[in-house]
């Protein structure tokens, strides 16, 4: 037997000489963290309840619709119609998640820790926005994929399959429109206050307040005004764009008249405006 | 002259006992309230200030209970730990509001007097929102003093103050204490407590661990030898001479000097000068190493 040997290993503080990654990596770290936060991952069980409840409801609806479509192909349940059905759930989802993403950071004073790191102020806002938009898109998109798979496997021939593909593509794009618009508005409202209850109330209020405008505008005796009515509330705005781009189940596009391009332009404008205001907001927060 | 009395006071939250059977009386003068984080200091202060009901026992100011009894605020001023003030007011406005709500006969004069006391007159017309932490703190102290209360309770009053503001606040508390006000303040910075007042109340884990002058408290800890650091012209010979003393329980020789442990404080401190003179050794430094409030406090917390 050899002589017993012993070593004391150095477990004191060690310097780090590995790589320090750049802007893209830092951005993606923030983005991934935001996405995980949206679904309560890495957080307490309590933080998971609401997002996963919504996910559950959305998937349940998607599955039921998929079953209905398999049985009655002409039920008129399209991918875009599914998204429209989920409108209020998405509003609530954004109202709960957006404050978790940004109001919490404001309230807890975490921002100085971020801004004293290589992360840029603008990237902070972009990463949070991307995370929220992705979360909403996944929420609306994943059930569509389920619906698509059910339809694809029950397809009788290739042409039916390709029709499905042609349908789900616009559906996912339509979901992305919803995601961008709702994430933009929700995050902007939430970034204004550190109190999550106010932020959530504010987001719901935006949708609540704007809905009656659409109602009043659509009973106006001017056809042009009726056709423009849907511009005045976020949910009806996206609905209008979808109607123009993909038509509705019953082929009725009368309610927006010839203003389809305007609807798309306003949607893009609102998203861009939200992003610009969000940037301005964080420039102000960081310098104060 | 007013007294604050706690008798048999406990406070619990569910099964968590924050304050456990505390009995104390505060008289005129400045008293420091000490204790580790979570020991129950703030709970005690809040009960004294009538912001919390004792679960058991009574808290009184001059015999009047403080809970559900707003009239005690005629005699009581409170500076709580949270530094919230109405940001949108100026200090002057804030003080005027305080004076009016106290129904003082001449609110203007009272507000002015309080602002002068904390030396805030130069900034009194600026919005409080623009103040530094120390200025806010002084404004809050002024508001607590506007009705010239007999009792002043302060929770961490030095928090956030810069060195000059600390010095000034210490002077102010000292002055008020000498003028016969009953003042209790909590603090973690023991050097400062030591400078303002020698009288302390020490709370450890919800219990009142010691009260009184901290030097007297130290003397009462007879099981702990008193430690002195000595530096002299001939440390080694002095060590030998000291070993002969019955009051000395241990001597260590180090490169920087001697560390002496004395069991009997009185006889050692009387004997040391005589021994040194007799041996012809010049003592250049004698320092009590564990007489500071800091060491008294740590002994109490450990015990």
């Amino acid at each position: 037997m050899s002589e017993a040997a012993g070593v004391i290993h150095d477990i004191g503080y060690q310097r780090y000489s590995g790589p320090r990654l750049g802007r893209g990596y830092v951005f993606s770290s923030m983005y991934v963290h935001g996405l995980r936060t949206a679904f309560g991952l890495g957080r307490s069980a309590k933080a998971k309840i609401f997002p996963w409840f919504v996910v559950g409801v959305v998937f349940l609806t998607g599955t039921i619709l998929a079953a209905v479509r398999a049985q009655i192909p002409d039920a008129g349940v399209t991918y875009t119609a599914f998204v429209d059905m989920m409108a209020w759930l998405v509003v609530f989802f954004v109202a709960v998640v957006a404050p978790e993403l940004v109001s919490r950071d404001l309230r807890a004073g975490v921002l100085p820790l971020y801004f004293s790191r290589p992360l840029r102020r603008t990237d902070y806002a972009y990463a949070k926005l991307a995370a929220l938009a992705t979360a909403v898109w996944l929420l609306l998109g994943a059930p569509q994929v389920v619906m698509f798979l059910v339809a694809a496997f029950s397809a009788d021939n290739m042409s039916q399959f390709w029709t499905e593909v042609g349908d789900v593509g616009p559906g996912l794009f339509y979901a992305a429109l919803w995601a961008a618009l709702f994430a933009g508005i929700g995050l902007l409202v939430a970034s204004l206050t550190g109190k999550r209850a106010f932020a959530a109330g504010g987001i719901v209020a935006v949708f609540l307040m704007t809905t009656p405008i659409v109602g009043v505008m659509s009973v106006m005796p001017s056809q042009t005004m009726n056709e423009l009515a849907l511009l005045f509330s976020p949910s009806s705005l996206v609905f209008g764009v979808g109607m123009w781009l993909f038509g509705t189940a019953d082929g009725d596009t009368d309610s927006i008249g010839p203003f389809g391009p305007l609807y798309l332009a306003v949607t893009i404008g609102v998203v861009a405006g939200c992003v610009a205001l969000l940037q301005a907001r964080y420039r102000k927060v960081a310098s104060s | 002259m007013s007294d604050v009395t706690l008798s048999g006071v406990s406070r619990w939250y569910g099964n968590v006992v924050a304050v456990n059977d505390v009995t104390m009386t505060l008289g005129p003068g400045v008293t420091g309230l000490l204790g580790p984080n979570g020991a129950g200091k703030t709970t005690v202060l809040h009960m004294m200030a009538g912001f919390l009901a004792p679960s058991r026992g009574t808290v009184t100011i001059d015999g009047e209970p403080t809970w559900r009894n707003p009239s005690v605020y005629r005699r009581l001023g409170l500076v709580s730990e949270r530094e919230a003030v109405h940001d949108f007011l100026t200090a002057k406005e804030f003080l005027l509001v305080s004076a009016r709500l106290h129904r003082l006969p001449d609110p203007e004069a009272a507000a002015q007097r309080a602002l002068e006391l904390v030396e805030m007159t130069s900034a009194q017309d600026r919005r409080i929102g623009t103040y530094s932490k120390g200025m806010r703190q002084r404004t809050r102290v002024a508001a607590a003093l506007v009705h010239d209360p007999q009792v002043l309770l302060l929770d961490e009053p030095f928090n956030g103050m810069d060195p000059r503001q600390r010095l000034h606040m210490m002077e102010l508390l000292h002055r008020l204490g000498t003028a016969g006000r009953t003042i209790l303040f909590s603090s973690h910075i023991l050097e400062e407590v030591e400078q303002v007042s020698g009288t302390v109340q020490v709370i450890v884990a919800g219990r009142l661990a010691a009260s009184g002058d901290y030097r007297a408290i130290r003397r009462l800890m007879s099981n702990r030898p008193h430690v002195f650091a000595i530096h002299s012209t001939d440390d080694r010979r002095l060590a030998v001479a000291l070993m002969g003393q019955a009051s000395v329980t241990g001597v260590e020789i180090e490169r920087t000097g001697l560390t002496v442990r004395a069991g009997d404080y009185g006889s050692f401190t009387r004997a040391l000068p005589k021994i040194a003179l007799a041996e012809g050794i010049r003592v250049r430094q004698l320092l009590p190493s564990d007489e500071s409030l800091e060491s008294v406090f740590s002994y109490l917390v450990e015990a």
Binding site: G12, Y13, Q14, R15, Y16, G18, P19, R20, L21, G22, R23, Y25, V26, S29, M30, H33, G42, S44, A47, R104, D105, A108, G109, V110, P112, L113, F115, S116, R117, P118, L119, R120, A286, S287 | P36, N37, G38, S132, M135, G160, M161, D162, P163, R164, Q165, L167, H188, Y265, G266, T269, R270, P273, L277, R282, Q285, L286, L287, E294, S298, V301
Partner: protein, 288 residues
């Protein structure tokens, strides 16, 4: 408004204390060092980099511990510090390992998997320090690191900072209002007042001995003062202390024999030192 004017300081590695009146410009200075604010005029170099140009590079190598609460209450310390490590550019595994190491060095063990919301003040301060250390900075900026800590917690925090500065080889700048603390752990000190430099020097140079002896007896202080007067040693009373000018070495013996003859308990005999506090004791200094 000028927060800082005409400040010229160069700081050597080691532990530097930064002290100054409230509103003296400390936070402005920190923001300039982190590249979050550009100086109106003048030049700044941090770690041989210019923060106005290479802000991200500077921030990748600087650790910042803010004064105020700045932690996400809903995350565990391990999760939070790992995330911030990644935002500083550390690859995923390195971030995880170094977060665990940093938390160990600040003295957090099993607790690191619990949510930060339930932590005590002392534990939160430790997490704040750990997040500043996670990316192995070359310079640490600590703003009031002992804020809210009880005496035992302060001792532990100061010992840790001392170790970081001396064993880890990281330069440390400590902002503090507690001059006793600064004397205890700092090698040098920069004092600013009203945005201007008050003094910048080594601590040892600011705490030199004076030619005054402090004498304390547990009883009979008046008797001793009278006796010293008779012996031709005029003394001044300062609280419980008698201050006696130190003329030559014989002064020691004369004091000792006075005490011995009166049979008084001698509590303290010590040559007085200058204190950093003297910088601020004078009220003449004008400040804005």
């Amino acid at each position: 408004m000028t927060a800082l004017s005409d400040l010229t300081v160069s700081v050597q590695p080691g532990i530097v204390g930064l002290v100054g009146a409230n509103g003296a410009g400390k936070s402005t200075l920190i923001k300039i060092l982190l590249g979050l604010l550009a100086p109106t005029s003048g030049r700044v170099r941090v770690l041989d980099l210019d923060p106005t140009v290479d802000a991200a590079a500077v921030r990748a190598r600087v650790g910042y511990m803010p004064e105020h609460e700045s932690l996400s209450p809903d995350l565990s310390a391990a999760e939070f510090v790992t995330h911030l490590g990644r935002v500083s550019g550390l690859p995923r595994t390195a971030a995880r390992e170094r977060a665990s190491e940093a938390l160990r060095h600040v003295g957090l063990y099993e607790e690191r998997y619990r949510q930060i919301g339930g932590y005590s003040t002392g534990m939160k301060q430790r997490v704040k320090l750990a997040q500043a250390l996670v990316h192995d900075p070359d310079l640490l900026l600590l703003d009031e690191p002992t804020n809210g800590l009880d005496p035992a917690g302060r001792d532990a925090m100061l010992a840790l900072i001392h170790r970081i500065g001396n064993e880890f080889g990281i330069s440390v700048v400590v902002c503090s209002h507690l001059l006793g603390e600064v004397e205890r752990i700092c090698d040098s000190l920069v004092a600013i007042d009203g945005g201007r430099l008050l003094r910048s020097d080594n601590i040892s140079a600011m705490t030199t001995v004076t030619d005054v002896l402090a004498v304390e007896v547990s009883e009979g202080i008046d008797q001793l003062a009278a006796r010293l007067d008779l012996l031709g040693l005029p003394s001044r009373r300062d609280g419980r202390l008698l201050l006696v000018p130190l003329e030559d070495d014989a002064t020691y013996d004369r004091i000792l024999s006075a005490v011995a003859e009166l049979d008084l308990p001698l509590h303290r005999l010590d040559q007085r030192r200058h204190r950093v506090a003297e910088l601020f004791a004078t009220r003449e200094v004008t400040h804005v």
